[in-house]
């Protein structure tokens, strides 16, 4: 029930904003839709509090009879947490858009954003592989168009690279799903096939090790490109840098969570034996990404690009945790997905504010902004500390649990991946010092008071960072129940 509402609100918004009646006041209506979506997500959260098995949280009926595809949504556990994240991040994204930013075609931007939100909501909520794939691919279209329409110079080539890369990855994933779908026939006497996630869990275990390996790599490729896991990352830095900043927020705050979510729920429990035998290699890939991204971040001059590499390092750590398959790392990953979504959106919001107020985001052209706007520097600092996982921020809980889980697998991987604890502090504090501290650099910029909406946007980010750092059980309680289920 509530799952349907969560998917249909942005869908209605998407269609409504395309119609000429809503175009002139697109911003207001867009905020209305993401606002309502946010409230509904909060309701779903409250419902989980009273009864996480409530009938209101579930929808399940046959959708396409011919292939036994179901419309099966369940708003609980990690799905709930990511649905909430989706709602919060879109609220932040639309808050961050400035009145004149997308010009006359603003309605199109808002409309495409809502389509994206709807598609990702579907990915996070559905328990059926067929609709999972549909939503998965559907989400690519709006973000591709956003990049193509409003990206920076060179956007055609970069967005095409992005599109082809992730699209090809998804095709592998689809092939893996179809393969599994055919094997679900073995599960019952009448040979009824199913796309249901639980059938996949059962069918996967029936496969021979060789078959599991094929499925494993097909699905892994699809997810690894999206996250991205090294060495499938090469679309990411360019795309993150080139997108309009709100597009980057969608990609880093939400879209990559599709990959992590897929890894955690659509791969790990499906082919456990293959996971076991490829664990060493895949963790090596993920941890390489942690170090690679951190090192690259050290030498960037464009703050947006620095964040792209930093994000690569952070999601590498989450991936490594998931691949280790330990309880603590799973719980940590579930929390870190949410935490990363919030702080990375906050950081790109900060990038947006730099561009808006100073016209540049080059670290070496900025300086001394603390002298001009103390409030902004404090908010930025808290978000930054969240990103480097200082205790009492949400980032710490996730990162700590992931490292514990990774150490449980092998201490040395935790030690190597943990180097990001140090390197993260180096590149973030270096950038902060260059941009915010010291004397005002003698260029022709000013950095006046923040617009009220931007202030509230950053407050919201800081609020969630601290709330869930101080009281993580608010989310962890639900996600850990969910994790217990897949670990059974």
């Amino acid at each position: 029930m509530i799952g349907n509402i969560l998917i249909f609100i942005p869908l209605i918004g998407f269609l409504a904003l395309l119609s000429p009646t809503f175009r002139s006041n697109a911003r207001r209506y867009a905020l209305f839709f993401v606002g309502i979506e946010f409230l509904v997500a909060l309701m779903a959260y409250a419902l989980n509090y009273s009864d996480n098995n409530s009938i209101l949280l579930k929808v399940d009926y046959t959708w396409i009879n011919a292939i036994n595809a179901h419309w099966h949504l369940h708003v609980t556990g990690v799905s709930l947490s990511l649905a909430l994240l989706n709602a919060i991040v879109f609220l932040l994204i639309y808050l961050s858009v400035d009145a004149s930013q997308y010009g006359e075609k603003a309605y199109l931007f808002y409309s495409l954003g809502l389509l994206m939100q709807m598609a990702m909501m579907g990915v996070f909520l559905t328990k059926d592989a067929f609709s999972f794939y549909i939503f998965w691919e559907l989400s690519l279209i709006p973000i591709y168009l956003i990049g193509l329409l409003w990206g920076e110079t060179g956007k055609e080539k970069i967005t095409l690279k992005f599109f082809l890369y992730t699209f090809i990855g998804s095709l592998f994933m689809l092939a893996g799903f179809i393969y599994l779908y055919h094997h679900t026939a073995l599960l019952n006497e009448n040979g009824q096939k199913s796309w249901d996630i639980l059938s996949f869990y059962q069918a996967g275990k029936l496969l021979t090790p060789a078959q599991q390996t094929v499925v494993f790599w097909f699905l892994f490729l699809g997810f690894a490109v999206k996250i991205p896991i090294f060495p499938f990352h090469s679309w990411q830095p360019d795309t993150y840098t080139n997108m309009p900043v709100q597009g980057t927020m969608m990609l880093s705050g939400l879209m990559l969570k599709m990959g992590l979510y897929g890894l955690l729920f659509w791969l790990m429990p499906v082919v456990p034996e293959a996971v076991e035998s490829w664990r060493g290699l895949t963790i090596l890939m993920a941890v390489s990404g942690v170090i690679y991204g951190s090192l690259a971040a050290l030498v960037q001059t464009d703050f947006k690009r620095l964040l792209a590499y930093a994000s690569m390092a952070h999601v590498g750590l989450i991936s490594a945790g998931i691949l280790s398959g330990t309880r603590q790392a799973y719980d940590g990953a579930a929390m870190q997905m949410f935490a990363h979504g919030i702080y990375v959106t906050g950081l790109f919001y900060v990038v947006h504010l730099f561009e808006k107020h100073t016209g540049t985001r080059n670290i070496y052209q900025l300086g001394g902004i603390r002298n001009l706007n103390g409030q902004f520097s404090n908010l930025f600092l808290i978000i930054l500390l969240g990103s480097i996982a200082l205790p009492l921020t949400h980032g710490f809980i996730g990162e700590f649990l992931i490292l514990v889980g990774l150490a449980k697998y092998q201490l040395v991987w935790a030690a190597i991946a943990g180097l990001s604890v140090i390197l993260g502090a180096v590149y973030m504090l270096r950038a902060y010092q260059k941009m915010m501290l010291g004397d005002v650099v003698k260029t022709n910029y000013s950095f006046g008071a923040l617009e009220a909406k931007d202030k509230w946007g950053l407050f919201l980010v800081v609020f969630f960072i601290l709330l869930l750092g101080i009281y993580p059980q608010a989310l962890n309680y639900f996600t850990s129940l969910n994790i217990s289920e897949i670990l059974k």
């Binding site: 292939i67 495409l112 205790p391 943990g418």
Partner: protein, 626 residues
């Protein structure tokens, strides 16, 4: 009790939040009242908690407030643990903290960032209390990184100066290196012993020797070398003197830097079980004590001298921990908090009088102009030099006696470091306060004693520096060694002082004789012969230059760590990213160029078209499945 402990911790946080959010609208006196008042109240509550603890069962009070980090077997609450050890620490933190807050009112009075300063300082006290009161390693880590953050904020308090910002960043990053060790140590501790909560780990038999014990101890100790500025992670502390002087007194002398000692004492069962780890702690402590003391003898900046002195004294405490003399090291933490805070605040008063000048070559003869500062600093200098019956003598002597029993080579390191301490401290005292003034007549007229808001804390600390030894008078002279007995229930595996009385008297004699001889040597050199430090670095002898330049360790780290890492970053960025991966992409794209031409034709930017294409693809897929 749950509320009292909550009050102790949250009052400083409240003060910090109020001053942080509203500080600019409040008057300076209101800001000062809120900041000092919150710490003062916290101190009063700490005394109440201390008294109530004495009648608690097993002298432990454990309060859980709510579930915090929960995952499978790992179940870490947000809660506090008050026992003998933390009860002493909270008294020192809030007590000395209160005095330093009061002193700061005078010291920072003219600063534009007055309310920001107090907001940070209160926040520091909050995190420091979290560190010692948290009832698990993870809650300790909250404080551990939190104080690191406040240290970062306060070292770089004058943020317009990039040299200060660099120092702040360096402190944070070096601490983070240690923190990674702490995190991995916690992970291994949890994996090995199944919990991170003191309540579980303190159960009898919870900690036994396994193959991981030494690794846990060493990883945690890496954390301690960062926070407590030991080799190899000590170089941030001297640079940290960039912050306002009261900050150095509170954070970089009395409290934060002793967190490493707290952590080792908290983990004493693990260290006692691992001889290797104990030996490493002892060697690192002993070598650091001597190393830093040597550097201190040739520094000219009054705060730098005190900074190296702190590193050296912390080394002495770790030397004691290596000998498993836990209560003796805690004893020295407390006496050191008194006299080192006093020395820093005194130095602050000197700098205040000198209008910001910190170079002792420009001082001299100040005793007549700022007599209160002089007398209180004299007391602290005697105390740190180990002259009986001042406080430092008893605590240092107790450590050295245990170390003698443990390892005579390490004992020798400790004794030499102590003699050097007496030397460089009196060198500083003589050059600052004795002789004639070298700072020019303009400045001479300007010299003035600090206001009483600054001198009264000095006097209180001076009294404590004199009588602090009462906490642990040795049994040798028929006293009870109160602190040793008080901490008994925290130390899970006991070590007893098994020396004969005659050897103890001998050790004491050697220590005192060494200190007196060093002071006399300093007196000969700087007072009788009137030797002055050279103005020009070129006049230094080659070995003096090496010491003056702190053995070039900063340069070495720069060369073997920072540059290679930046170089690797460039290799990743310029070679792998721009050439390898872009190269692969480009060759793929040239293959698909022809495909691209075709795609371009259908790129007409019409949404309906894309959705239709999507639908068609889906149908195609469906038909394939069928």
């Amino acid at each position: 009790m749950a509320y009292i402990l909550l009050g102790i911790v949250l009052l400083p946080l409240l003060g910090s939040i109020i001053n942080g959010l509203l500080g600019k609208k409040l008057s300076k006196s209101n800001v000062a009242t809120i900041a000092s008042g919150s710490i003062g109240l916290s101190f009063v509550l700490s005394i109440i908690a201390f008294i109530q603890l004495q009648s608690a069962e097993n002298r432990v009070i454990n309060v859980d407030y709510y579930k915090w980090v929960v995952s499978g077997m790992l179940d870490v609450p947000m809660g506090f643990w008050l026992d003998s050890l933390s009860s002493l620490y909270i008294l020192v933190i809030t007590g000395v903290g209160f005095l330093i807050h009061v002193y700061s009112i005078g010291y920072m009075h003219e600063d534009d960032g007055f309310s920001r300063y107090f907001s940070y300082l209160n926040l520091f006290v909050f995190f420091m209390l979290m560190l010692v009161l948290g009832n698990s390693y993870v809650t300790m880590f909250v404080g551990w990184e939190g104080v690191g953050l406040c240290s970062y904020l306060l070292i770089g308090f004058w943020f317009k100066n990039h040299a200060y910002n660099d120092a702040a960043k360096k402190a944070f990053i070096m601490n983070r290196i240690g923190d990674l060790g702490f995190i991995l140590g916690m992970a291994l501790l949890f994996i090995t012993y199944g919990s991170l909560n003191y309540a579980d780990l303190n159960k009898p038999g919870a900690i036994t020797y396994t193959s991981a014990t030494t690794a846990i101890a060493l990883l945690l100790f890496l954390g301690a070398t960062g926070k407590s500025a030991q080799i190899p992670l000590y170089t941030w502390l001297p640079d940290a003197m960039a912050g306002p002087t009261p900050v150095s007194a509170l954070i970089h002398a009395a409290t934060m830097v002793t967190a490493g000692i707290y952590m080792v004492v908290r983990s004493n069962a693990i260290y006692s079980l691992s001889e290797t780890a104990s030996l490493v702690v002892g060697i690192v402590g002993g070598v650091t004590a001597l190393w830093a003391a040597i550097i201190a003898t040739l520094q000219f900046d009054i705060k730098k001298i005190l900074a190296y002195s702190t590193v050296s004294q912390l080394g002495l405490m770790f030397l004691g921990l290596g000998a498993n003399a836990y209560s003796s090291s805690v004893f020295h933490v407390i006496t050191h908090a008194f006299f080192k805070a006093l020395l820093f605040l005194g130095a602050g008063s000197v700098i205040h009088a000198m209008g910001g000048e910190q170079d002792i070559r420009k001082m001299g003869g100040l005793s007549k102009k700022i007599p209160t500062t002089y007398l209180t600093m004299l007391i602290a200098t005697i105390a740190i030099s180990g002259i009986p019956p001042f406080s430092g003598f008893f605590s240092k002597d107790e450590i050295l006696a245990h170390v003698y029993e443990y390892n005579k080579g390490l004992w020798a390191l400790g004794v030499i470091a102590s003699m050097l301490t007496a030397f460089y401290m009196f060198r500083m005292l003589f050059l600052t306060f004795w002789g004639y003034f070298r700072g020019g007549s303009e400045l001479y007229k300007h010299l003035h004693e600090s206001p009483s808001v600054m001198t009264i804390p000095l006097m209180i600390l001076a009294v404590l520096s004199v009588i602090g030894g009462l906490l642990g008078l040795p049994e040798l002279i028929g006293a009870k060694n109160w602190i040793g007995h008080y901490l008994d229930n925290v130390i899970l595996i006991k070590t007893y002082l098994g020396l004969s009385h005659s050897i103890e008297w001998m050790l004491m004699g050697i220590a005192v004789a060494g200190a007196v001889a060093s002071i006399y040597f300093a007196y000969q050199l700087f007072v009788i012969n009137g030797v002055l430090p050279v103005e020009d670095e070129a006049e230094l002898k080659w070995w003096q230059k090496i010491i003056y330049h702190k053995f070039y360790v900063d340069e070495l780290y720069d060369f073997i760590i920072r540059r290679p890492i930046d170089f690797l970053g460039k290799v990743v960025d310029r070679f792998f990213e721009k050439m390898v991966f872009n190269g692969i992409n480009d060759s793929i794209s040239s293959i698909t160029l022809f495909l691209g031409e075709w795609i371009r034709k259908i790129h007409i930017g019409n949404i309906a078209y894309y959705i239709m294409a999507m639908t068609i693809s889906i149908i195609v897929i469906l038909s394939m499945i069928k």
